[in-house]
């Protein structure tokens, strides 16, 4: 009878970079860095907080997890993906950044992003400015009516909400209905003249998604599901994201 295999002492520590690699196709190529620095030389966030993309990846590769958690740099990187675009090994640094954002307790993440996410979870609008579906409907109808009268050439222009079977589902950044409603109109005019069959949804009309930026995955999913379900319930064929 064979003896039990000998176990070497000491647990292998699980590092942040290993967890991210498990999440990504091909491990995000996170092991393939040639340290060429193409990422850092073309990154607008290079130098902020004494950090750059290459340095951040090296920190992760060296298992400097505490320093990564303490760094504010993941909130200064916009995850624009230019680093992947120029990287000869296509290393997914932005996903490393996104997951680094999630390392901190939710309440310790930047207050503005946190508050915007919480606001989006308050009602079915998914608006980071907290406007309710009723607020949105009131503004859209009010502005539309005003312009139909003031500009008679657009008397037939529509800005439908919850129009069943419309071809396009359009979302809207909250800034227009809440702070500058006249800016809604030029887009409506373009759609009208192009003969586009479109609709907003009273649910999920807010185009922003701060829960994604917050790296709060459950809330991100909730916001996205609200708007996608809204488009599907209306039977829309194409989702137009204006944000």
């Amino acid at each position: 009878m064979a003896e039990e295999a000998i176990k070497l002492g000491g647990k292998k520590k699980s590092f942040f970079i290993d967890k991210v690699k498990e999440l990504l196709p091909e491990g995000g190529n996170l092991n393939l860095c040639l340290t060429c620095g193409a990422c850092s030389s073309g990154c607008p966030a290079t130098g902020l907080g004494g950090m750059d993309p290459r340095k951040f990846l090296r920190m992760a590769a060296l298992g400097m997890d505490e320093e990564i958690i303490a760094s504010d740099w993941p909130w200064m990187c916009t995850m624009c993906q230019r680093c992947i675009y120029v990287c000869p090994m296509k290393i997914d640094i932005p996903q490393l950044i996104f997951n680094a954002r999630g390392l901190r307790p939710r309440e310790e993440r930047p207050k503005g992003i946190l508050a915007s996410c919480d606001m989006q979870l308050r009602n079915d609008s998914t608006s980071a400015m907290g406007a309710t579906p009723e607020d949105f409907q009131f503004v859209v109808e009010d502005v539309l009516e005003e312009y139909q009268e003031a500009q008679p050439e657009f008397a037939d222009m529509q800005a439908p909400i919850d129009k069943q079977g419309a071809e396009f589902f359009l979302n809207q950044n909250s800034r227009e209905p809440v702070t500058e409603p006249d800016e809604l109109v030029p887009l409506w005019k373009v759609l009208h003249l192009a003969g586009v069959d479109w609709t907003y949804g009273s649910k999920g009309w807010g185009g922003e998604n701060y829960c994604m930026f917050l790296a709060d995955n459950d809330s991100w999913e909730q916001v996205t599901r609200t708007t996608v379900d809204s488009a599907n319930e209306l039977g829309c064929k194409i989702f137009l994201n204006t944000e």
Partner: protein, 142 residues
């Protein structure tokens, strides 16, 4: 014109950047369009994305955007078009902060202006040089 990272590099690539140029050149005239360098999928992010606008890190965000502001100024263009909402907010602030004071406009504003259907109250972001050009129903000014 700012190539939005989201629809160009991160989603549809250079073909949609060409579509965008087709629209912009049709609207402003080919001779009036000046590309930033680098551009299309190789464009720099302006610093308005990823939640940066709401992160409270204003000094860092403006420092991030310095590269973009320099890029825009180097074109010598009078206007910057930002088709993305976050880009619009960020570049508008960069224009004021770094003193370039170039107007930053949504694409829909210029499309409607070129069609002669832009009313007096839809001109918030136009510069003084275009505020009074081809005003649709000027009598409805508020």
């Amino acid at each position: 014109m700012q190539d939005p990272c989201q629809i160009v590099r991160k989603s549809y690539g250079d073909p949609i950047a060409e579509d965008l140029r087709f629209v912009v050149k049709s609207v402003v005239g080919e001779e009036n369009f000046i590309d930033m360098q680098p551009n299309r999928s190789n464009n720099y992010c302006c610093g308005g994305g990823g939640g940066f606008l709401q992160s409270g890190m204003k000094a860092e965000r403006l420092q991030y955007g310095k590269l973009k502001d320099d890029q825009i100024k180097a074109t010598g263009a009078d206007y910057c078009i930002a088709g993305c909402h976050n880009c619009h907010a960020q570049i508008h602030e960069l224009s004021e902060h770094y003193g370039g004071n170039y107007p930053v406009v949504h694409l829909w504003t210029l499309i409607c202006l070129s069609l002669g259907i832009l009313g007096p109250n839809e001109r918030e972001y136009l510069g003084d040089d275009l505020k009074d050009v081809l005003v649709f129903h000027p009598e409805t000014a508020m």
